[in-house]
């Protein structure tokens, strides 16, 4: 590991651990005080936690689709990061589900989402889609790791023990078993793509179908969600690959990261076009109700979130890095990290401005009380719980990549056999 990568690794361990410890305070507050500690309420019913959930679920869907490039479309240039992409998708999914579970008024009733599903509601579908996606991710991750687990099962120490346990007794490393792995991964990935599109499109549809909120109510909303997911997930993977990815030793890493960089640049351009379509049509709309939320985003109290965090740090700076230093892994890693981190501002700017415009102007002053306000800034308890969910996801990722043979640093040809021999290689 180079010094820069070692430094980044240490920094992320430090951030994840500190975040988790600080976040425990948020968890404690959530479990003891409940929603009374939050600043969202009746007029702005969804806040930081819902935004954090759609943010992380988008990262997961995006990272998963990147893994599908390896296991379904067999893009050879990316094959060494297939499992890393799956681990990223799995851990961000766990963070997202943790976040939205904590957001429920009755956490203990979450099972009703499955046992009493209203399939007439887009949200009703979510539990099923997430359940299916979660199981699929677990199985696919194991399948992608199977051979590595077998090969590492005799290694000493904790990692070896873990590998031994996780092989579940299956020690077959024959060529036939590898071909079987490849075929199964292709099937799982093929099921996963429509599933990832369905569930993240549905997250967009949750917002898109709400006729009462003109800012959300558009057929474009699910598409914007999907493209945003692909962009933020791929961007996160660029950073992850640049720091922990394989091939640093044999020079392969740069090639992989640069390729992801090109994918990100394309997605960024597409995302900007969609954003332009959304903002221009909305702003030129003749109905003030349509443009009110957009005006809040662009010129409201929190204008700097859009212009500074999103446009400045999330679009312009990464675009410059990708355009002018796109051949350097560190620059692409930085660009990816910036896009992935600042994408939270995009998610906040979907949820909050859609709610912060009163449906009935007179309600603003009609009655006072906690939660009866159209102004919103997350409380410290909300920030801390959000940090808890993100840190948990980050820590699970760090533990996963440290304890499991997710990354093959030696470019051992034995470790990437799943893709060999099958038809449809993309070079």
């Amino acid at each position: 590991m180079s010094t820069a990568r070692k430094g980044a690794d240490r920094l992320f361990w430090f951030l994840a651990l500190t975040g988790l410890i600080a976040g425990l305070v948020g968890l404690w507050t959530r479990l003891t005080v409940g929603h009374a500690s939050a600043n969202y309420g009746s007029y702005i019913p969804w806040g930081l936690w819902v935004s954090g959930y759609i943010y992380m679920i988008g990262l997961s869907a995006g990272a998963f689709v990147m893994s599908a490039l390896v296991f379904v479309f067999r893009v050879k240039a990316l094959e060494r990061i297939g499992t890393l992409a799956l681990l990223t998708a799995l851990t961000t999914l766990i963070g997202a589900l943790l976040m939205i579970w904590m957001d429920l008024g009755h956490m203990d009733r979450v099972w009703r989402m499955v046992l009493r599903t209203n399939f007439g509601s887009v949200m009703g579908w979510m539990a099923w889609l997430y359940g299916a996606y979660f199981v699929l991710l677990l199985v696919e991750f194991w399948q992608a790791m199977r051979l590595r687990l077998v090969l590492q099962a005799d290694a000493p120490g904790l990692a070896g023990t873990l590998c031994r346990i996780l092989t579940f007794g299956n020690r077959d490393a024959s060529a036939a078993s590898r071909r079987r792995d490849a075929a199964r991964l292709r099937i799982l990935g093929s099921i996963g793509i429509p599933l990832a599109i369905a569930f993240h499109g549905s997250v967009g549809a949750i917002f898109g179908v709400v006729g009462a909120r003109p800012y959300w109510n558009s057929g474009l909303t699910p598409i914007i969600f999907l493209v945003g997911a692909l962009l933020s997930g791929a961007a996160l993977l660029a950073m992850v690959t640049a720091i922990w990815g394989p091939g640093k030793e044999d020079g392969d890493n740069t090639a992989i990261v640069v390729l992801i960089g090109r994918i990100i640049l394309g997605l960024l351009a597409f995302d900007v076009i969609l954003e332009w379509a959304e903002i221009s049509i909305g702003l030129w709309s003749s109905l003030p109700a349509e443009s009110a939320s957009l005006k809040l985003i662009l010129f409201g109290h929190y204008w700097w979130v859009y212009w500074g965090v999103h446009v400045g740090l999330g679009i312009l700076l990464p675009a410059l890095l990708l355009l002018f230093a796109g051949k350097r892994a560190s620059a692409v890693g930085w660009a990816g990290g910036l896009i992935a981190a600042t994408f939270m501002s995009v998610r906040l700017n979907i949820v909050i401005p859609g709610l912060a415009v009163p449906e009935m102007e007179g309600l603003r002053d009609a009655f006072q009380g906690p939660g009866l306000s159209f102004e919103y800034f997350p409380s410290s308890a909300e920030w801390l719980l959000f940090i808890f969910a993100v840190s948990t996801a980050a820590l699970l990722f760090l533990l996963g990549k440290s304890l499991l043979p997710v990354v093959d640093h030696d470019a051992n040809p034995d470790l990437e056999p799943q893709l060999q021999g099958g038809p449809g290689h993309v070079q």
Binding site: G41, D103, M113, N118, A366
Partner: protein, 317 residues
């Protein structure tokens, strides 16, 4: 108007009838004189301050019998007429009723008595409000006026809040009232975003006594003040306390036209609590009812009519 009583013809008969009417009215007023005061007294009763009144009908809703109403008289209070019509509606199957409300904005003086009486009746905690009164200033000096618009739940004929619920915890009942099953609701708040009238609020678990000091004998300390909050609410005809983490805390809440009162033959609290008689209530399917008469007026309107939600709350301008 539907005449139910016989016309007394002779003077003694008229006197007897009038004395009878006065007695029934007195008894009636003694029982239902002021829902607001009854609601406000309930916490004190719960604390044992007025033990003699602890058997108030409000404390045991299941045991309540509808009192007799006085015979219909010329020029009587519209509340009495609406109560009579309410009972007529209750005699029908639920699916044949269409509970509706009319709010005469010309009569509303913006006193917020309906908001407060609703809070007292339903024991609403801080941050939960079923019927706020919106205030607008119209015109420029010297031609300025104010308009007051109470906003209960519209009990929409085509509600946009029910379809979105992921666990079917909210639905439109046979009588048209949109109900929330607090025991089913998971508190996702999707319905809050979907209601075009912001009629749903979230019970985040706040209490009026949250920052009240403990053990201050000279003052009403937390333990004693908390009695108000421990008084049971009766949303949808069930008893609801304020135990932490138990419903209705963590749920979506909204106006339910006081179904727990309707079922006992009483009008919604905001109707009886309105000092200007600006709110009317009844079964719109009853062609002889006051509500049907008012809904038919040409100066009526509904909020956001263009959305197609078909609110059952009408406004007279």
């Amino acid at each position: 108007m539907n005449k139910q009583s016989k016309d007394p013809t002779t003077a003694p008969e008229r006197e007897a009838a009038s004395a009878d009417a006065t007695r029934v009215r007195r008894e009636f007023l003694a029982k239902f004189g002021s829902g607001v005061f009854a609601s406000l007294l309930a916490p004190a009763l719960a604390g044992g301050a007025l033990p003699a009144l602890a058997q108030s009908p409000r404390r045991a809703p299941g045991a309540l019998k509808m009192p007799d109403l006085p015979p219909e008289t010329e020029g009587e209070d519209v509340v009495l007429r609406m109560m009579r019509e309410l009972r007529r509606a209750l005699a029908k199957p639920a699916a044949e009723r269409r509970w509706s409300m009319v709010i005469d904005l010309r009569k509303c003086v913006g006193c917020h008595a309906c908001t407060i009486s609703c809070i007292a009746e339903n024991k609403l905690p801080p941050g939960v409000v079923y019927r706020p009164v919106m205030e607008e200033e119209l015109g420029k000096f010297p031609h300025v006026s104010r308009r007051f618009t109470p906003r209960p739940c519209m009990q929409c004929e085509k509600p946009s809040c029910t379809a979105v619920c992921p666990v079917s915890a909210t639905w439109k009942r046979a009588d048209g009232i949109v109900e929330i099953d607090y025991d089913q609701c998971i508190g996702c708040r999707y319905c809050l975003t979907a209601c075009p009238y912001s009629a749903r609020t979230f019970d985040a678990g706040h209490n009026y006594t949250d920052r009240t000091p403990e053990n201050t004998p000279a003052l009403v300390d937390r333990a004693r003040a908390a009695r108000y909050e421990q008084t049971k609410a009766h949303d949808y005809g069930k008893e609801w306390g304020r135990e932490p983490d138990a419903s209705p805390i963590g749920n979506a809440r909204k106006c339910h036209f006081c179904v727990h009162r309707l079922e006992k033959g009483m009008l919604p609290e905001c109707v009886t609590g309105c000092i200007g008689h600006a709110t009317f209530f009844g079964d719109a399917n009853d062609p002889d009812s006051l509500i049907a008469e008012l809904i038919g007026r040409p100066n009526g309107m509904r909020l956001k009519e263009e959305l197609g939600t078909q609110p059952k709350v009408h406004y007279l301008l």
